[in-house]
C-alpha cells in the first residue's frame, strides 16, 4: 500500500479529463490525475503513482531509479500486482514493443 510506482503517461482519456493512461513496465492502466490538477502531466511525462492516483511528477531518471529501488527492496512484483489490479477499466495488458524506459528498460529492472 505504501508503494510509490513510477509510470509514464501514454494517453489522456478524452471524456474524463481527470484520467490518464500510464504505462508501468509494459502494463497500461488508467490512473486518476486529479491530485496534479495544478500542474497536469502531459503525454510522455513521468509520475509517481500511489493507490491508483498520480501523486507527483518526476524526471525520467528518477523514474528509472524508483523502479530499481522497488526491485532491490523486493517490492517489484508487489508493485506490478498493484498496477495490474487497478480496475478503472478492462484494458488488455499491453506489452510495449518500443524502447521506452517505461517499457523494456523498466521491465528488465523489475525482473
Amino acid at each position: 500500500m505504501c508503494l510509490a510506482i513510477p509510470g509514464r503517461i501514454v494517453s489522456l482519456v478524452p471524456d474524463e479529463p481527470h484520467l490518464g493512461v500510464v504505462e508501468v513496465t509494459g502494463v497500461r492502466r488508467r490512473v486518476d490525475l486529479g491530485l496534479l490538477i495544478n500542474d497536469m502531466p502531459k503525454i510522455g511525462d513521468w509520475v509517481l503513482i500511489h493507490v491508483g492516483f498520480a501523486m507527483s511528477k518526476i524526471s525520467e531518471k528518477d523514474a528509472v531509479e524508483q523502479m530499481h529501488l522497488l526491485a532491490i527492496l523486493g517490492e517489484g512484483e508487489a508493485a506490478m500486482t498493484e498496477v495490474r489490479g487497478y480496475g478503472l477499466e478492462e484494458i488488455a495488458e499491453f506489452r510495449s514493443t518500443g524502447e521506452s524506459p517505461g517499457g523494456e528498460k523498466g521491465k528488465r529492472l523489475l525482473q
Binding site: 505504501c2 486518476d32 496534479l36 500511489h50 493507490v51 528518477d62 529501488l69 489490479g85 487497478y86
Partner: protein, 377 residues
C-alpha cells in the same frame, strides 16, 4: 555489508558513510528516529545498521498505518459490512490483519463479501458496477493515501453514487510525533522525516519539532544513499548545535506540499477530537473523519457502528518499542508468542512494522546462523 553490490553508487555510499563516521562524535550516542514504515523496511533490507557506527542508533517510528490501527476498528468495519450485507473493500495489506473474530480473509471464508482493491477509486468502481449492493471502503493510511480517498468521495458525491461509503481510519503523522516527543521516557536526538507523506503535506508541518523541541528533521528519499545523506545532514546540524527542517528528497518533495491534495482533504475531512493508536493510546486531533457534507458517504454516519474497543495485549510492549525505549527483540513476546505469522502486537502486523522488519531481516538471519553452527558442531 549486505546487499552492497546492489547499491547504485558504491563510491558515494562509501563517501557518505565516511562522512558519518567523521561527523559522529565518539563520546556521544545518537538516537535518530525514522518516522516512516517504508524507511524502516529499507533500512533493514539494505542492512544500513552494518554501515553505521555503533553510536548511531536508528529508532523505528509510528509510520506504519496497518500497525497503528486498533483492532476494534477492524471489528467495527467488518461488523457493519456483515450486518448490512455490504461489500467490504480494502487494500491487500489489511486482509490478514487479525480482528477479534478473525481477519478480513477469515470473514470472507465465513461468507462476508470481502474484496481486495488496489485503489479507493476501484472500490467506487465496484459500487458503480453493483448498484444493488452497498460497498464499504475500509480506508487506512497517513496523508499519502488520504487525498486519494478524498478525491474518490468527491467523485462519488458529484456522480451521485449512493451505494458507496468510506469507513475512515486515516491518521495524521504530526500528532503521533508530538505524542512520542511528549512521553517522559523519550530520548531522541533527530528525525528522518517521511518521504511520501511529505509530498502531500510538505516540510512546514515539521518546523515546530525543530523550533520548539530543538530536534533537527530531514525529509528523506528511500534509497540507501538518500538515507545516509539524510543522516549526514542531521549530524551536521547536531554538530553545529542547530535544529532546522531540511529536505533531502527535493526531487519528489516540494517544500509547500501538494496544494491540490491538501484542498481535496480539507473539502472532505475534518480532524477527530481524538483517535486511538495501537501501541500509543489515544492521541488528540490525530485522525480524520468525514465532514457532515459527505455524511451520506460516511459508513460511520450511515451505519450503526458497535464502537468495539479491544485493549492492547498487556504483555506486548509496542509502545516502548515505538518510543525507542526498547528494541524489538527486547520485548518479552518477540519471536516467541509474537511472530509475523501470529502477530500479537501492532508492530508485528505489517511488513513495514519495526518488529516484523526486524524479525524478517535480523532475527531469521541469526536463527539460521545458529542452526548452521549447531549442525556443523
Amino acid at each position: 555489508m549486505r546487499y552492497v553490490d546492489e547499491f547504485r553508487d558504491p563510491e558515494l555510499i562509501t563517501k557518505a558513510s565516511e562522512e558519518i563516521r567523521r561527523l559522529a562524535e565518539r563520546e556521544r550516542h545518537y538516537r535518530i528516529m525514522e518516522i516512516c514504515g517504508g524507511h524502516t523496511h529499507a533500512i533493514y533490507r539494505f542492512g544500513l545498521k552494518d554501515i553505521l557506527p555503533d553510536n548511531i542508533e536508528l529508532i523505528h517510528g509510528p509510520g506504519c498505518p496497518v500497525c497503528v490501527l486498533p483492532m476494534g476498528r477492524i471489528d467495527d468495519g467488518l461488523a457493519i459490512a456483515q450486518k448490512g450485507d455490504a461489500i467490504f473493500a480494502a487494500f491487500g495489506d489489511m486482509m490478514r490483519v487479525p480482528g477479534t473474530h478473525g481477519s478480513p480473509f477469515e470473514h470472507k471464508a465465513r461468507g462476508t463479501d470481502v474484496r481486495i482493491v488496489y485503489s479507493p477509486a476501484d472500490a467506487l468502481q465496484i459500487a458503480r458496477k453493483n448498484p444493488e449492493r452497498h460497498v464499504i471502503f475500509f480506508a487506512i493510511g497517513f496523508e499519502t493515501t488520504a487525498p486519494s480517498t478524498a478525491l474518490t468521495l468527491i467523485r462519488a458525491k458529484r456522480e451521485g453514487v449512493h451505494n458507496f461509503s468510506v469507513f475512515c481510519n486515516h491518521v495524521t503523522i504530526v500528532p503521533a510525533i508530538r505524542a512520542i516527543l511528549d512521553s517522559p521516557d523519550m530520548r531522541l536526538d533527530a528525525f528522518i522525516g517521511p518521504g511520501h507523506v511529505s509530498t502531500v503535506i510538505g516540510c512546514r508541518p515539521y518546523e515546530w519539532i525543530a523550533r520548539a523541541e530543538g530536534k533537527p528533521v530531514v525529509t528523506s528519499g528511500f534509497e540507501p544513499l538518500d538515507l545516509l545523506q539524510s543522516i549526514v545532514m542531521l549530524l551536521r546540524q547536531l554538530r553545529a548545535g542547530e535544529a532546522k527542517v531540511e529536505n533531502q528528497y527535493k526531487r519528489v518533495v516540494p517544500w509547500e506540499g501538494n496544494l491540490a491534495a491538501l484542498k481535496a482533504m480539507a473539502e472532505v475531512f475534518e480532524l477527530r477530537p481524538h483517535f486511538e493508536w495501537r501501541g500509543l493510546g489515544f492521541i488528540s486531533q490525530s485522525a480524520l473523519r468525514i465532514r457532515k457534507e459527505y455524511a451520506e458517504w460516511d459508513s460511520e454516519q450511515r451505519f450503526d457502528v458497535p464502537e468495539t474497543r479491544v485493549a492492547d495485549p498487556k504483555a506486548a510492549q509496542c509502545g516502548e518499542v515505538l518510543k525507542g525505549v526498547l528494541k524489538p527483540a527486547q520485548c518479552k513476546l518477540f519471536g516467541k508468542e509474537c511472530t509475523p505469522e501470529h502477530p500479537i502486537g501492532a508492530l508485528m502486523v505489517s511488513s513495514e512494522g519495526s518488529c516484523a522488519a526486524y524479525y524478517n531481516y535480523e532475527y531469521r538471519k541469526t536463527a539460521s546462523l545458529v542452526t548452521e553452527i549447531s549442525s556443523v558442531a
